[in-house]
């Protein structure tokens, strides 16, 4: 590592094209199959996270369609109870562990954070690549289980005693438990990379108070991941020990405690909701500012809200356990905390509305998805306020009302912002614009289908239909609502197919994107689309919160970084003052090989 003070100056008179070629040679990734597995650059790994997560979103969607097909009429026989249990467990596990977090946190974070920081690569790029391969290995283990009739059948939470050795013999629950370890280690690795990048690789001038909202949210989420994920790893690890080694952590007959599992699981599980929602909120903040053509209203209140959400999010987990017979005091505490967490989210909502209200709104395709988010997430939030109340929660517990609520929250909080973000950053990622007309078809098909399916589920829940049942009798009079809900899936599927066609079409014949087609203020738009392998010709400096709007054309850049090795700039975490130069480790096959070795150890340890 070279330690020398870089210089901040202006070298626009130097021969940049030759300099750029030298940088491109230094930062290029190796080609071929070997090169593919050796690649450690954040843009490539970020895209892989997004593509892989989207594939699992499609697979999870197929499972959802199977569930709706089974429930479309009473006493249907498309699936038996055993397969149905596997299908709904796999649907939940896939959507949460293999899609939502890897897409919203890892995919967008790994791709965008270094670009928005003004860095040439993510911190610890090999750990980042290792995390990707470990995630893929976990996903393959889980789906390999389903294809060999050992798919988990204990729900996405695998409560004991159902998932314990007495009630779930075989390897189904083992596979679920070990998949958790894969995906959570992966998320932890990426959290460390992202937090370090934000804290130590920000461009000079990007002080703490000038960080884009998206970086604030990614930092908070990374810290949440670091604190939340170990809890579920402990839960799944203890479950594995109970199942494979014969310990009795969750066996009350031997002094264990089944509720301990639920506490550990939901100590992770509820922050997980915010780990999924906050990335969506960060996308919305970015887009609202861009398309309102004005600075975000209430920067400081939004930051306060995000940090407060991250903190309070760890104090509400017990509201998932209201039906377990808790003391009244703890019910009161967690009801209060659950209601309290609505406040920071409400503050963010009002700040977005105020930004839109006072801005010059450009109603482009990504904004359509933002407005979809406002509508859907608001409904999910309001039903969440209802569920935070113990009497209501006890009435509708384990009913389809809860299913409707969390789909409004998770699809509203993650999927709508995700599509907004994809349409927004697609020009940066592939260098071409998405088709707006197809995008609008995608939106309306999906929006109508989503509400048709999930708004209906509220009424099914209120009429008493329980979750996780593979069929129901005709005398329950639930059929027409189930038919309506299942019809919505057809619209959603059509919407997703239009989206896929749009992406393929855009990649091939879409209009060539300018460097900054939306006129956004973020540093990620200050380079060609797609980004060159070195990201920035010169590490930029920042003179305001909205660099591309605020900074003059002759804004100084950082010079003095070598172009013959992969040199990066390390800055102070608070003031982003240049501190020293560091060397990026470059491509390596070791992350891939290490991930294979670790995966073999994980799989071997769960096959005792």
């Amino acid at each position: 590592m070279a330690i020398a003070e870089p210089i901040i100056g202006n070298d626009r008179d130097t021969g940049q094209s030759e300099f750029a070629q030298r940088l491109a040679r230094t930062w290029c990734q190796p080609r071929g199959l070997w090169g593919w597995f050796s690649n450690t650059h954040h843009t490539d790994i970020g895209i892989r996270f997004m593509v892989t997560a989207f594939i699992f979103f499609l697979l999870g969607g197929v499972l959802a369609a199977m569930i709706r097909l089974q429930l479309i009429r009473p006493e249907n026989s498309v699936m038996g109870p055993d397969l149905y249990n596997q299908v709904f467990s796999m649907h939940g596990s896939t959507m949460i562990f293999l899609f939502a977090v890897p897409m919203m946190f890892q995919g967008f974070g790994v791709y965008l954070v270094p670009l928005m920081c003004g860095a040439r690569n993510i911190a610890f790029p090999r750990l980042n690549a290792f995390s990707y391969y470990l995630y893929v290995a976990g996903a393959l283990v889980l789906w390999g289980g389903l294809l060999t009739n050992t798919g988990p059948d204990v729900g996405w939470f695998a409560y004991v005693p159902l998932s314990g050795p007495n009630y779930s013999p075989g390897h189904r629950a083992d596979i679920w438990s070990q998949m958790i370890t894969f995906t959570e280690v992966s998320a932890l690795g990426v959290a460390i990379c992202i937090a370090t990048t934000i804290l130590r690789h920000r461009a000079p001038g990007m002080t703490l108070n000038r960080m884009p909202i998206l970086l604030w949210e990614k930092l908070v989420i990374s810290i949440m991941v670091i604190f939340a994920m170990p809890a579920v790893m402990v839960a799944s690890g203890l479950l594995l020990l109970d199942r494979l080694v014969g310990t009795h952590f969750f066996n009350p007959a031997e002094g264990g405690d089944v509720l301990l599992y639920q506490h550990l699981f939901w100590f992770f599980g509820h922050p997980e909701v915010y780990i999924i929602f906050l990335p969506g909120a960060s996308i919305i903040s970015t887009l609202v500012e861009c398309f309102s053509r004005r600075r975000i209203f209430g920067y400081a209140p939004i930051v306060v809200s995000v940090v407060a959400t991250g903190f309070i999010g760890f104090g509400v987990w017990v509201h998932h356990m209201f039906a377990t017979g808790l003391p009244q005091l703890s019910e009161s505490f967690f009801t209060a905390a659950s209601l309290m967490i609505v406040i920071p989210t409400g503050v963010q909502f009002f700040c977005w509305m105020a930004t839109l209200w006072n801005g010059r709104l450009q109603f482009r395709l990504p904004m359509l998805w933002c407005f979809g988010f406002f509508f859907v997430f608001l409904i999910g939030g309001l039903s969440g306020v209802m569920l935070a109340s113990v009497p209501v929660d006890l009435q509708v517990h384990d009913s389809y009302f809860v299913v409707a609520h969390f789909h409004y929250v998770l699809i509203g909080g993650a999927l709508f912002p995700m599509f907004a973000g994809i349409y927004f950053w697609l020009p940066k990622i592939v260098g071409r614009m998405a088709d707006e007309k197809l995008g609008k078809w995608h939106f309306w098909l999906f929006f109508i289908g989503f509400n048709m399916t999930f708004f209906t589920l509220h009424f099914l829940g209120l009429r008493g239909m329980p979750r996780r049942v593979y069929t129901y009798g005709p005398d329950m009079h639930w059929q027409w609502l189930n038919v309506l809900a299942s019809c919505g899936v057809v619209f959603m599927t059509a919407g997703i197919l239009v989206f896929l066609a749009n992406v393929v079409r855009s990649r091939q014949v879409g209009a060539i994107a300018e460097n900054n087609p939306w006129g956004d203020a973020g540093l990620e738009w200050g380079m060609s689309s797609p980004p060159p392998p070195y990201n920035f010709l010169h590490i930029p400096t920042v003179g305001g919160r909205d660099p591309l709007w605020d900074d003059p054309p002759d804004q100084p850049v950082v010079v003095g970084l070598r172009d013959d090795i992969r040199e990066t700039l390390v800055t102070h975490s608070l003031d982003a003052d240049p501190q020293h130069k560091d060397e990026d480790p470059g491509p390596s096959i070791w992350p891939f090989l290490t991930a294979i070795t670790v995966s073999a150890a994980f799989v071997g340890s769960s096959s005792l």
């Binding site: 002080t207 108070n209 920067y299 930051v303 940090v307 005091l329 309290m340 305001g544």
Partner: protein
């Protein structure tokens, strides 16, 4: 932009590069600490105070935690007032950054102290043991 020059000019003042004054640190963490203590201690000691009839324990916890949060707000305000008048929430100097930290700290402390009060009021009106 005279980025380094401005930082050099600031270096003779009270905030060092990359450092946060102690008062600001307290302001940033006091709100979180107070709320965490309020919830954690009340939960732990509820059984004891209900079985012995020492309800005042829960009231004392609420008051102490409220004061902790308020002290964080106070130190944040003191630090905030010590900054030069030209600091802004968005500027690039260390004082601007510290100004922003002070705003965050005061906001955390104020909002969490309100939450603590809102949680404590029912303890005075209703019995916490029913």
């Amino acid at each position: 932009m005279d980025l380094l020059g401005k930082h050099m000019a600031d270096s003779g003042r009270t905030i060092e590069a990359g450092k946060t004054p102690l008062g600001l640190w307290w302001s940033l963490i006091a709100g979180f600490l107070a709320l965490g203590l309020d919830l954690g201690l009340s939960y732990m000691l509820e059984q004891h105070s209900c079985s012995t009839g020492h309800y005042y324990v829960l009231h004392v916890i609420g008051v102490v935690c409220f004061l902790i949060a308020l002290s964080g707000f106070g130190t944040g305000l003191v630090e905030f007032r010590r900054f030069p008048g030209e600091t802004s929430e968005e500027g690039g100097s260390r004082f601007d950054r510290a100004h922003f930290q002070a705003v965050l700290g005061m906001a955390f402390c104020l909002s969490f102290s309100i939450v603590i009060v809102a949680g404590s009021i029912p303890h005075w009106i209703l019995s916490p043991c029913e």
